[in-house]
């Protein structure tokens, strides 16, 4: 019984930590609006946060961290390329 509880909390811990990080990053991206005056810097910061949030969702929530590498990289490329394309459009 205790073993089952231990393995359950071991399974749940990454999701809970990931959720905390996602919430913190969400607030960080909103408060950056008030903290950073430079638009290119602000856009870059917000889009870097998008990458880290996306990585958490893909690796932890979608459980792709231990999936075949190609699938993980395919999904991760989305949260790398999308912010990059948006940044290029906005900044250059």
């Amino acid at each position: 019984m205790n073993d089952k509880k231990q393995s359950l909390s071991k399974l749940m811990l990454p999701s809970l930590l990931s959720w905390l990080l996602l919430i913190a990053l969400t607030f960080a991206s909103v408060y950056m609006t008030y903290l950073i005056d430079s638009r290119p810097l602000f856009i870059s910061g917000a889009l870097v946060i998008v990458f880290f949030k996306g990585q958490q969702i893909i690796d932890i929530f979608m459980e792709l961290k231990h999936a075949p590498k190609r699938w993980r990289l395919l999904l991760l490329s989305y949260v790398i390329l999308m912010p990059l394309i948006i940044a290029i459009i906005y900044i250059f």
Binding site: S7, V50, I57, Y90
Partner: protein, 202 residues
């Protein structure tokens, strides 16, 4: 190889754990997810390009939106995704009742998103703003309503896997349908993660 090593290997391979090198859920669902991500990618690029061409209009449009609503919706979707992930975790240990309860909580949290989004639309309609007001609001309504449709579809999928979990149709070694539904829901969350800063913050 000893005579009894084969059954042990076979037994080990039948127990699925997140540490395995396998794609969770059905392959078809992942292709569907990729297709959805591609469609939204085009929307995101269209929004960014249009903003660069109409900086003043987009800046004014963004000021007319309720950033707090966007923030609440982000928290609602992330939290809903957490409960779906937790439901899968408990299901991996064969606890279908707890999984069904967690899925129900996930759906209730997702309802916050729907209520906030619809009230956001109604507030804009009251101000005389609709899809034809200007390019910003055309894209705003198209992208957010398209995303809302995905949330609604996701809730139908969650209801379906919830029903199956309650009936005990999933076991610790037969979770493909559950994982596929959960992955779709996380995709909805993933899209909002990009949509929120693009439309409300930047």
């Amino acid at each position: 190889m000893t005579s009894n090593s084969l059954p042990i290997t076979a037994l080990k391979s039948s127990v699925k754990s997140p540490a395995e090198n396998r794609l969770p859920g059905d392959l078809a669902m992942w292709f569907f997810i990729l297709a959805e991500l591609t469609v939204f990618a085009l929307f995101f690029i269209a929004f960014a390009v249009s903003e660069q061409q109409n900086l003043v209009m987009f800046s004014q449009g963004k000021h007319q939106l309720h950033q707090t609503s966007g923030l609440i919706n982000t928290i609602a979707l992330i939290t809903s995704s957490l409960f779906v992930a937790l439901a899968l975790n408990v299901m991996q240990l064969g606890k279908s009742r707890q999984a069904a309860l967690l899925l129900l909580i996930a759906k209730l949290v997702a309802c916050i998103y729907i209520v906030v989004k619809i009230s956001e639309y109604l507030l804009l309609f009251e101000q005389g703003i609709d899809i034809e007001t200007n390019t910003f609001f055309t894209l705003y309504f198209l992208i957010t309503a398209f995303h809302l449709m995905h949330v609604l579809l996701g809730m139908v999928i969650l209801a379906y896997i919830n029903h199956n979990a309650r009936k005990g149709n999933y076991t610790a070694n037969n979770l493909s349908g559950f994982e596929s539904g959960a992955s779709y829901w996380h995709m909805v969350d993933l899209l909002w993660i990009i949509l929120f800063p693009l439309i409300y913050v930047i």
